[in-house]
């Protein structure tokens, strides 16, 4: 999409980021010990910690990714809301208190509190690093997407900007400042999403979602003459070429020196050509957007309804609607989505985004992304189950969420924090359905990246709302990335350098090592954020959940609930969880597409690995623990002696 700079948004952005930095330096003066750096000294109030939990968890995946996915594939996006919240049930009922009892600074410490095993230290630290990095990728991708319309800068600049600011935050103050940043943005995110939902309901529905400064583009519909499936004439347009791709027919037409792509559709023996959006790449790498240079701004935001049914009648627009009426109206109406198709035309790479009329009934059911209805393949159904499993089990095993249990002073506070977080996060996830659907029908979608649905929806309702929401979304990313980098730096400096390599660093040197690690992880995250541009951030986070669920959760659960668990069992379970989940992800159809290969030739059809990797890790910890009982008994005897 093509964006200009918004100076009001820029002002809000600078003020907000400056405030966040000031907060970091303020707390930096108070951070003297390792306890203070990694766990805020265990003295954060439970209510602050609860909202900070929400702020930590409501990452780019929730605000940008889920809203974007709902806007583009309907209910399938809401599956992430349901699963992300359900994961907290596992965290609260099974993990929060026992872990707090074991707790030190990091996930590795907790896991190793019984065994003092170097193998557990090493594997848990590596697992923490891998999960955190997989969680970091979508945050950085989201940051790049966000900065583009905010500042009119390229994607990579946004990624670098977030990386640099976060490195400063983390390297300066650690957990205390991170907690307060997350507290502020968590609270603001919920309040602003509520305001945005009220705007959506007040606005109602219209067939032509014009914006204040820009009318909605009227997509041309032509009646062509067709012979043997080929378009020979198209009103006053000149036919240039025609391509058949995966059963669809795309026709390039020219008028006034501008070439545009149309989708040829046959309905009841009658042909129509429907205008599409397109990006054509030339030999020298230059791109034409809808047949014209970027500066002409002819690449429009989209997302509209083709039919609105209110009280059984078809209307052009509705007045304000209530929340349930909003959802039921969409269910009875028709939504126009835009489907991406890539092909080559006369040696030029072309990406066409064609209109896809979808009934509201289908839009409000699972199935547009994860096919589970009639005719769905076994792979597709397994993928759906696998996703739901990963979301349910992943939350409780995310290292950056786990370390937050150590920032409050008692088990009761850890529990109260978690419940407050569940309530706040639950309220937000209900709102995501309204934000996503609102974006789908209000002409604010960027076909190149679904991640910008919520901020662009805010821009449709006014630049001030957009500015504040963008600044908060940016802070959302800052807060989450900061938390992840803390977890990663803890894994490197504390688990690997101090516990595993036994470097015997002084308290001051441990903090310095943590800060240097934070810098290194931050730079790595920047590079990955640039590489994964264009992918939906919720989908990417789903991978982090799968790895966490497979590598960490079996180890934690067995440690807490099965007395026969051994250090070997835990270490092997983590290894099997990491290797199997990473193996399935790296050979998935989505990664095949990233490698530039045909997804049809991917080794398997599973995008989400948890359905295989989680049971594998569970079996491993069980079997290896049983097999290593003798060693455990010997160790216990030695200890008694």
């Amino acid at each position: 999409m093509i964006y200009g700079v918004s100076y009001i948004a820029l002002l809000f952005f600078i003020v907000f980021v400056s405030f966040v930095l000031w907060l970091s330096f303020y707390f930096a003066r108070k951070t003297k010990s390792a306890a203070s750096y990694y766990a805020a000294g265990g003295q954060i109030h439970w209510a602050v910690n609860g909202i900070a939990f929400a702020g930590d968890y409501l990452s780019a995946a929730s605000f940008l990714g889920i809203c974007g996915m709902i806007a583009s594939v309907g209910f399938d996006g809401f599956l992430y809301s349901i699963g992300f919240l359900a994961g907290w049930v596992v965290a609260l009922f099974l993990i929060a208190e026992p872990l707090k009892r074991l707790g030190k600074y990091t996930f590795t410490d907790a896991l190793n509190s019984t065994f003092k095993s170097r193998a557990v230290t090493l594997t848990a630290a590596i697992s923490t690093l891998i999960v955190s990095i997989f969680y970091l990728i979508p945050q950085m991708v989201g940051a790049g997407d966000l900065v583009t319309p905010l500042l009119g800068l390229p994607h990579w600049v946004g990624v670098v900007l977030v990386g640099m600011v976060v490195i400063i935050i983390v390297a300066s103050a650690g957990m205390t400042s991170t907690t307060y940043v997350q507290f502020i943005k968590g609270g603001l995110l919920i309040v602003l999403s509520t305001i945005l939902t009220i705007y959506i309901l007040k606005n109602g529905f219209t067939l032509k979602p014009d914006h204040k400064d820009q009318p909605y583009h009227e997509f041309a519909i032509l009646s062509p003459e067709v012979a043997n499936g080929k378009v020979v004439r198209a009103e006053d347009w000149k036919v240039v070429s025609q391509n058949e791709v995966k059963g669809k027919n795309f026709v390039k037409l020219e008028k006034g020196g501008v070439e545009r792509w149309f989708d040829l559709v046959k309905k009841e023996e009658k042909y129509t050509l429907t205008e599409a959006l397109s990006i054509s790449e030339g030999d020298n790498g230059s791109k034409l957007y809808n047949g014209e240079p970027k500066s002409k701004a002819k690449f429009y935001q989209v997302g509209h309804m083709s039919k609105i049914i209110v009280d059984g009648k078809e209307v052009n627009r509705s007045g304000p609607v209530g929340p349930f009426e909003f959802l039921s109206t969409i269910e009875k109406s028709e939504i126009v989505r835009f489907s991406e198709t890539k092909f080559t035309d006369n040696g030029k790479k072309v990406t066409v985004y064609s209109q896809n009329i979808t009934s509201g009934k289908d839009f409000m059911l699972p199935g547009l992304k994860y096919k589970i209805g009639k005719g769905a393949s076994v792979w597709s159904r397994l993928d759906f189950i696998s996703l739901m499993l990963a979301l349910f089990l992943g939350t409780a095993a995310l290292p950056h969420i786990l370390i937050r249990y150590y920032t409050v002073k008692s088990q009761r506070d850890a529990r109260k924090s978690t419940i407050l977080a569940i309530a706040a996060i639950g309220a937000f996830y209900v709102l995501t359905l309204f934000l996503g659907l609102g974006a789908a029908v209000n002409g604010v979608l960027d076909v190149e990246s679904s991640n910008m649905a919520a901020p662009l929806l805010a821009r449709a309702f006014g630049v001030v709302l957009f500015s504040v929401i963008s600044a908060v979304a940016f802070a959302t990313i800052l807060g989450t990335v900061a938390g992840l980098i803390i977890a990663s730096s803890g894994a490197i400096a504390h688990d690997l350098m101090d516990s595993y390599m036994k470097l015997d660093l002084s308290d001051e040197k441990k903090v310095r090592a943590g800060k240097i690690s934070a810098f290194a992880v931050g730079v790595f995250a920047i590079a990955l954020g640039i590489l994964f541009k264009g992918m939906n951030v919720s989908f990417l986070v789903g991978w982090a959940f799968s790895i966490a669920a497979s590598a960490n959760l079996p180890a934690i659960l067995f440690l807490l609930f099965w007395k026969k668990t051994t250090a070997k069992g835990i270490a092997w379970s983590i290894i099997v969880g990491i290797v199997s989940s990473l193996g399935i992800i790296l050979t998935s159809p989505t990664m095949w597409d990233r490698y530039g290969l045909d997804t049809a030739n991917a080794i398997h059809k599973l995008d989400n690995p948890a359905i295989i990797s989680f049971p594998l890790a569970v079996i491993t910890v069980f079997l290896v623990s049983l097999m290593s009982q003798q060693i455990r008994n010997n160790n216990t005897e030695q200890f008694k002696a």
Partner: protein, 95 residues
């Protein structure tokens, strides 16, 4: 120093009872969550059935799962706090 908890916790006599309650609540929620996934995979059409206020089962079930998690959490906290008050000394509760 690094092998001590960031904040010390006292002896919790209610720990076992709370853990058992947590496991029960977990399986209760899992039952309903798995129910949603099972309907999706085994009887997809059922999710499209209108249930109330013009909304289909998928939406109502999805909202229901979110609300249920919150309510179950509040009940869990209430019961755990009661166990702690009954089984622990006041000094231990504070710690």
């Amino acid at each position: 120093m690094l092998h001590k908890p960031a904040a010390e916790t006292g002896i919790d006599n209610a720990a076992k009872k709370k853990a058992r309650l947590g496991v029960w609540f977990f399986f209760l929620y899992l039952f309903f969550y798995a129910g949603f996934v099972a309907i999706g995979v085994l009887n997809y059409e059922l999710l499209g059935q209108e249930v109330m206020m013009g909304l289909n089962l998928a939406i109502i079930y999805g909202f229901g799962l979110i609300l249920f998690a919150v309510l179950l959490g509040i009940l869990y906290n209430y019961l755990c706090s009661r166990y702690e008050d009954d089984m622990n000394d006041k000094e231990e509760i504070q710690s």
